[in-house]
Symmetry: C2
Subunit: 346 residues, 2 copies
């Protein structure tokens, strides 16, 4: 590894001079500058960003801590953040916490503590490498995500979850309006007996969506029937089981809280010889890649993932540079209803 010192020695100047030349603190004579620049090229010297960070203040590095990179929408958000960073002269580095993999293995208290410790380590690492700021990308919303250490002394932005900390701006996706609209769409299409297939209902997303479902029903004068909410796991099987139950109850439409569960509903419909949307209408949520490959194509809700990443990145950069924020402490991005082929007017 070629260092500043190597270059300096070869040029018979000190490291200070070389450093100055590299960083454009233009006090060097044209002659020295040229000699140094040539040597740098010749030796293939590359500055050590890490050592630079140790000493200096601003590093131009933004840390991204991702709870789980295998979450379907994480890569898009990350890339969107990185694009903004690239445009504004920053560089993003990623730490992945492998949340799912870990909770799959153990849900014990020990594991939770260990997770929290690992997050703290990741934050410390970002701090250690002198990241100018940090974006934390949660894999699902909590009312107050409690994995971050309390004493964050540098700019942090939270994405995809809420956090009780006035210092940390929050960027989340709307769960309410979109769910309301989805159910209203079903109602507007003549459906009155509408089932909702939720993931585990200890989940904030599920809770908000279920409440919005109730509200849409209420506004249309349709009484709420608790039997019409089926909650189990966020899995394809859950969608299958849910629709099976609902069909026997005479439901004409079902709102699945993710596209995977909608896929499970399709599975059951196919098995039971039910035609979508003729016999049963289905709406999904997330507009994952799969949705557009369903047959018939799934009517669902699109998530503004790139926008989310962009906003979070713009905010962290603003915080770093001391610029006034464009948004408030908590910004909720709206999702888009995508009507396709899985709902019938009755």
């Amino acid at each position: 590894m070629v260092t500043l010192k190597d270059v300096a020695e070869k040029c018979n100047v000190t490291t200070a001079t070389v450093s100055n030349i590299i960083n454009g603190k233009s006090k060097a004579s044209a002659e020295t500058r040229e000699r140094v620049l040539d040597t740098i090229k010749e030796l293939g010297y590359q500055p050590n960003v890490i050592a630079r960070g140790l000493r200096g203040k601003k590093t131009g590095t933004i840390g991204i801590i991702v709870e789980d990179i295998t979450l379907f929408d994480a890569p898009k958000i990350i890339v969107s953040i990185m694009n903004y960073c690239a445009e504004t002269g920053y560089h993003a580095v990623i730490e992945n916490m492998r949340y799912y993999m870990r909770t799959e293995i153990a849900t014990s208290m020990d594991e939770k503590l260990k997770y929290k410790k690992d997050v703290a380590d990741a934050v410390a690492k970002m701090r250690a490498m002198r990241a100018d700021g940090l974006i934390f990308l949660a894999c699902h919303a909590r009312k107050n995500i409690d994995v971050l250490p309390p004493d964050l002394d540098f700019p942090v932005v939270m994405v995809y979850s809420y956090i009780d900390n006035p210092e940390i701006p929050v960027y989340v996706l709307d769960d309410e309006n979109c769910s309301y609209n989805a159910v209203k769409y079903l109602i507007d299409n003549g459906h009155r007996k509408i089932g909702i297939i939720a993931g585990a209902n200890d989940n904030l997303h599920a809770q908000k969506r279920i409440i919005s479902y109730q509200k849409a029903l209420f506004d249309a004068g349709i009484p709420f029937d608790p039997e019409l909410v089926y909650a189990d796991k966020w899995s394809r099987k859950c969608g299958y089981d849910g629709l099976k139950k609902f069909v026997s109850m005479g439901v004409t439409a079902v709102y699945c809280l993710n596209d995977e569960m909608a896929g499970g509903a399709y599975d059951y419909a196919r098995e039971a010889g039910l035609e979508i949307p003729k016999d049963i209408s289905v709406v999904g949520h997330d507009n994952r890649e799969i949705a557009d490959y369903f047959n018939p194509k799934l009517t669902t809700i699109d998530l503004p993932l790139y926008e989310l990443g962009f906003r979070a990145a713009r905010r962290i950069v603003a915080m770093i540079e001391g610029k006034p924020p464009v948004e408030g402490d908590q910004t909720v991005l709206q999702c888009t209803f995508i009507p396709r082929e899985s709902v019938k007017k009755i």
Copy 2:
């Protein structure tokens, strides 16, 4: 930020003593140790891994440079690598090069040069933070990927592409056997006129698969008809256009070189009122999530992504620790044929 020095001062010892205690170089008296440990807890001291790396030799960090994290299989490979790292006491950090996003914007020579420079920077950064080793995860295979700087003086493993460098072990996925088997499966099911829908055929994956297709045909005594290979882009539309052409030629089965194109073939079949597999059989490639949601479910080829990550991780760790390698310079992992519902026996 609490430093070693802070702890040392508070305990009236030197940083050396604290450092020794932390790193288990147990020369400290029980009394001092306890005092230091308590202070560490009290102050919430966390070691600065970066500074540690600057001085020390082994950091326990493994760098992953990913050409594009939005490539459908990248997250799985990454997580698999990270799992192995976690088990063996290493920590992986990710640099994403945003390959697709960039080539989308510009394919100019300038952009290529810039890409190469950015990769070199990323490598330098890994080096600077004293990563013990580096895994480079390409987003598609090249005969000799030429983006890495030549003077790598630390262990490197290449995943998903070949590279002409005896120092760098290569881990790739098989393109030949699986394609051969897929076509043979079609032949064994009575198909004789089999179309192949390829992505751009300047691509190594496409080339190998097309050759295997020819070989399978040859072995079955079926003459190769160049009209039966349709190559355009790796897109859904390509699958649509390809099948459209083939149907008019009396093809009974089609092998699509990725699942997305198979989806396009489904699109056309549906539009043309053709039933899969009754009227036309389809085989895909990649076994992406979408494949299992197709109706009928897509017969395709599964990629051993976790295995790939595991092997690469195991290799880099072996290289770092000077252990003998389990595999040779170039290991090709076999893919699994997944028969589902999209092929009919005729």
